[in-house]
Structures are given as structure tokens and as C-alpha cells.
């Protein structure tokens, strides 16, 4: 089998598939099960300073082309999450700690704890579309993002990734702010701000009314964002949004992603999706007589 190894900001992944944040990653053992299923790395659920219960149900709507969710950032808080991290890092694959906060100080504190817990990198959730005061609201302003990145970079030595929202026309500007502030990579994209209305109940289905759309519906948007970011930036880009098959993964890589995150497909296909994408990519490399995936990254820009 050809090697699927990729390097993202110096972190070595045995294959380019990464469990996306928010998908089963609330417990150490769940993260381990994604690693056992073949994920090259895993991202934790976004963790904040304090315990948060998240939104009341309904928090998820199944649509023909994806999921709409508004979990509302439920998490046990950074203190309690240490125990989960100590379990997750036993899996032998990089564990990326996702965090959310309201200020640069919050992010810096959370990231230094994640580093202490053994995270290989941190991912800043600058893009949650359904938790007021967090995420997207702070992640669409390049100056704000720049401040956060600088504060985090001062507090940790592990790579710092910023997960960006597509809910702005300024995604490339925000990406540039991340790079200029010393960020080590970009994750694109988080979910698209969206809604579903029940005609029977005559109201939005989600208790939060507005949520984030994921799954195949958003893949073209994700690809466009990765493509635009790759044109302008030098830092590595991790692609996310609607990836279900090795072909989807390759599309993202050709658009400029060095690795890909898998989220919604875990609901549709189960954890075996990691192994399926990995073996599909290996077959592709073999059939083309290629040695590694690096030569494919960004080829769509030629």
C-alpha cells in the first residue's frame, strides 16, 4: 500500500482523514474509537472555560442533503476535559484540541491547558454559527482574529489552527489575518448558517431557530473557500465540508487542502468512513503510480 502520510504544520498524520470537531468528540473513549477506525487525527469537541449544557432539543434536523444542527457548544469545561484528553492521547494519533471563547485571553488560557493535556495542536473555533457571543460573531473580523491568534501563539508552542466560517465574504481576509498573526494553519469550513421551518408547527424546528448546515449540501461552498484561501495563503489548509468518499477528499486536496476533516459522514456511514476513504485514496495512488498525496495538493490551480 502506498503511504498516505501527510504533514500538517509539522504534525505527521498516517493518513489525511481527521475527525471533525463536534462529532462524537466529547469523551476520550469516543475519540479513541475514531482513531481505531482509521482516522489520521482527531479533533475534540469545542471546549470552553466552563461547563455548558448547550441548547434544548431539537438540536438536529435531518435534511435530504445534510444535517442542520444547533447543539450550542455543550461541553464539560476545560477542567473536566483533562481526563478525556488523557484517554484520547493513548490512541497513538494526533489529538487536536478545539476550543471556543469570548476573548483572546479565554482562547490563550484554553489552548495552554490543551497543550498541557497533550494536544498535538489546537484548533480555534472562530466559526460556530449557533452560540451567541462565541464563534462566528468574533471570527468574521480580521482584527479580532489577529488578536486572538497572537495571544494564543504567545501561550503555546504547538501548532495553532483557526477554523473559519464561510458565513462572510471576507474569509480570505480572515485567513490572511490568521497567517500574518502567526497562525500555523486554516481549517475551512465550519457550517453554513441555516434554518428549517416546520409547516405543521409553523415555526423553526431547532430550539435555537438558527443552526449550521453540514453534509453534501455544503461541499461546493467548502471547495470554493479552500480554493480561494490556497490562492492567497502559504499556511496549510485543512478542508472540511461534506466529505463522504475518497473522491470528495481528493477534490478538496486538489483545491488546496493538505488534509481533510470528516464530520456529518460519521452519522450517515458510521466510523468506518475513515477506513473507506483511506483505502480509496491508497487505491487511487496505486492506480496512478504515485508515491504520495503531496503531489496532488493544489493541482487544480495549475
Amino acid at each position: 500500500m502506498k503511504s498516505l502520510r501527510v504533514s500538517v504544520a509539522g504534525i505527521i498524520l498516517k493518513n489525511p482523514t481527521i475527525l471533525a470537531s463536534g462529532i462524537i468528540g466529547e469523551t476520550g473513549r469516543s475519540l479513541l474509537s475514531a482513531i481505531e477506525a482509521g482516522a489520521g487525527a482527531v479533533v475534540t469537541k469545542s471546549i470552553g472555560l466552563n461547563v455548558r449544557k448547550g441548547n434544548t432539543n431539537p438540536t438536529l434536523v435531518e435534511l435530504p442533503y445534510g444535517y442542520l444542527n444547533a447543539m450550542g457548544l455543550p461541553n464539560p469545561g476545560i477542567e473536566a476535559f483533562g481526563e478525556e484528553m488523557s484517554i484520547a492521547i493513548r490512541g497513538g494519533a494526533p489529538v487536536i484540541g478545539s476550543v471556543f471563547g469570548q476573548s483572546a485571553e479565554d482562547f490563550a488560557l484554553l489552548c495552554s491547558r490543551m497543550q498541557k493535556y497533550g494536544a498535538s495542536a489546537v484548533e480555534l473555533n472562530l466559526s460556530c454559527p449557533h452560540a451567541s457571543g462565541y464563534g462566528m460573531e468574533i471570527g468574521v473580523d480580521p482584527d479580532n482574529v489577529s488578536q486572538i491568534i497572537r495571544a494564543v501563539k504567545r501561550s503555546v508552542s504547538i501548532p495553532v489552527f483557526a477554523k473559519l466560517t464561510p458565513n462572510t465574504e471576507r474569509i480570505v481576509e480572515v485567513g490572511r489575518a490568521v497567517q500574518e498573526a502567526g497562525g500555523d494553519g486554516i481549517v475551512a469550513i465550519n457550517t453554513l448558517k441555516a434554518m428549517a421551518v416546520s409547516i405543521e408547527a409553523r415555526k423553526p424546528i431547532l430550539s435555537n431557530k438558527i443552526g449550521g448546515l453540514s453534509g453534501p449540501a455544503v461541499k461546493p461552498v467548502g471547495l470554493r473557500c479552500v480554493y480561494e484561501l490556497y490562492e492567497e495563503l502559504d499556511v496549510p489548509i485543512i478542508g472540511a465540508g461534506g466529505i463522504e468518499t475518497w473522491r470528495d477528499a481528493l477534490e478538496y486536496m486538489m483545491a488546496g487542502a493538505v488534509a481533510v476533516q470528516i464530520g456529518s459522514a460519521v452519522g450517515k456511514k458510521g466510523l468506518k468512513v475513515f477506513g473507506e476513504i483511506g483505502s480509496g485514496l491508497a487505491r487511487y495512488l496505486k492506480s496512478r503510480g504515485m508515491e504520495g498525496l503531496d503531489e496532488l495538493v493544489g493541482v487544480a490551480h495549475a
Binding site: R29, T56, V61, E62
Partner: protein, 258 residues
């Protein structure tokens, strides 16, 4: 896709003190042990086991909180929104099955007794706290050759638990499979008992659920997702689960002792 669908309540049956069955048409295939997510606009959306799995389906609700109280007060003609069915299902043995039910566990177990379709292959042990909380006894009698009942306070049937009943029944007969649902401490003891006798078992478990489709991780039991990898787990799976009978997780993902 198993998206939201509204259906009208066709029948409401008060089963016992605090237990209500709602019957409705829901034309999606379902198997015993599977569950649906029931949405009550402005209140909540909660997982409920199907207590009837044919086209004329049903759920059996025990009043424990705001959402279950709202469900229990619905009347014929009212509507509920459902998504699902979700999860795996019970697979009864082709030999002799012992069904062990604790409290509201009977709701997910009665359909499996009925799908076996042969009374000679099913015995049932029903445990409840008190007489008024014994549900589906008659239904059990219609689909099995032997039904025994216990109550914690001795107001009906044998004084004791469903596990006490199971212990007695297992001494008398050789069962090929134990199918159970009920409080987790009961299932924990039943697991020990089934190990003692070397009998296979399938238990339906409960955890705090949000998405219902294996995405959010709220219902994690070790690395398993109760909503998608369960809710029915086999003996071999449960033996390796460190959290079984010990911890559950709350809405924030914090460990809580059972």
C-alpha cells in the same frame, strides 16, 4: 433519511399509574428495540422506544419530567412529530427466550415477544416498584407461555426484583437468550447472572441523547454511541464497557455516577 414527520394520535391508553401509551400511524419500518425522537414544539425533543412496531405504532411514556408530562396529557386527535426509527434492535434466539423487564423497560420488550410469534419460545419476567406500575402483563401473556411478576414492595406477584424472578426461572429452565430492558443497576446484576449460567443476552440501554443519529456524542458509553451502535448491546460488548452500571453523562458531557 429519517426526517421529521407529523402524525395524529389515534388512541391513548392509560397503562398504570403514570404510564400512558400513545398509538399512531407511522408508515416506516421498525424493529423491536428501536426508538423514535419525539418533538413537542416549544418543549423538547426526546427519545422514546417504540412499544408497538407495526404500522399502527405506539410509544409508552412514563411521567418523569416536563416533556413526558406533556406527552402523557396528549389526546386523540392531537399531533406529534417523529423522526426515526433509529438504532439497532433485539434479535431473539430461535430457541427459548427469557424477557426480563424492569419498570418502563416493558415498552421496548413487548414487541420482541410478539415478533417471535411462538408462545413456546418466550417467557417473561416483569418487575415493577409497586402494583400500579406493572404494565403490559396481559400483553405478555398473549405472546408467551409463562409470565411472572414481581414488585419491590410485594403488593403484587412475588416480593422482589425482576432479577430475583429471572434467577428462579433460570434455575428451572435452560434459556438460550435473555432480552432485557430496565434500570441499569438491574441490568448489571442480570449480566452477572447470565455469566454465571453462560447464557447470551441483549440489553437495551439508556443514555442522555440529543441528535439520535450518532453525530453529537452525548450518549457515549465508553466509545460506543448508544443511539447508533445501540441501544441494544450484547453480553460480550457490555463486559468490556467500563462505564456500564457505573456512569452516565449529563447534558454537558460530565460523568455522573449511576
Amino acid at each position: 433519511m429519517r426526517s421529521q414527520m407529523f402524525t395524529e394520535i389515534r388512541e391513548v391508553v392509560k397503562e398504570g399509574k403514570g404510564f400512558t401509551t400513545l398509538r399512531f400511524r407511522f408508515a416506516r419500518n421498525a424493529l423491536p428495540g428501536q426508538f423514535v425522537m419525539v418533538w413537542l414544539p416549544d418543549i423538547d425533543e426526546i427519545p422514546m422506544s417504540l412499544s408497538y412496531v407495526e404500522d399502527f405504532k405506539g410509544i409508552t411514556v412514563r411521567e418523569v419530567g416536563v416533556a413526558t408530562r406533556a406527552l402523557s396529557s396528549l389526546r386523540v386527535g392531537d399531533s406529534i412529530a417523529l423522526r426515526g426509527p433509529f438504532g439497532n434492535h433485539f434479535e431473539p434466539s430461535h430457541g427459548l427466550n427469557l424477557i426480563v423487564s424492569g419498570g418502563t423497560g416493558a415498552a421496548s420488550l413487548m414487541p420482541v415477544a410478539e415478533v417471535v410469534g411462538d408462545k413456546r419460545r418466550v417467557d417473561v419476567a416483569i418487575g415493577a416498584r409497586t402494583r400500579d406500575e406493572v404494565i403490559f402483563e396481559n400483553r405478555a401473556r398473549l405472546s408467551s407461555s409463562e409470565v411472572r411478576v414481581s414488585t419491590d414492595d410485594g403488593t403484587y406477584g412475588m416480593k422482589g426484583t425482576a432479577v430475583d424472578l429471572a434467577r428462579i426461572m433460570m434455575k428451572e429452565k435452560r434459556y438460550d437468550m435473555i432480552l432485557a430492558c430496565g434500570p441499569e443497576m438491574m441490568l448489571r446484576s442480570l449480566l452477572e447472572l447470565s455469566k454465571e449460567y453462560g447464557i447470551s443476552c441483549q440489553f437495551s440501554l439508556e443514555r442522555f441523547m440529543k441528535c439520535g443519529v450518532g453525530l453529537c456524542g452525548s450518549c457515549a458509553l465508553d466509545g460506543k454511541r448508544v443511539c447508533a451502535d445501540g441501544p441494544v448491546f450484547r453480553r460480550e460488548e457490555l463486559e468490556s464497557v467500563s462505564e456500564f452500571g457505573k456512569y452516565k453523562r449529563d447534558e454537558a458531557g460530565l460523568k455522573v455516577s449511576l
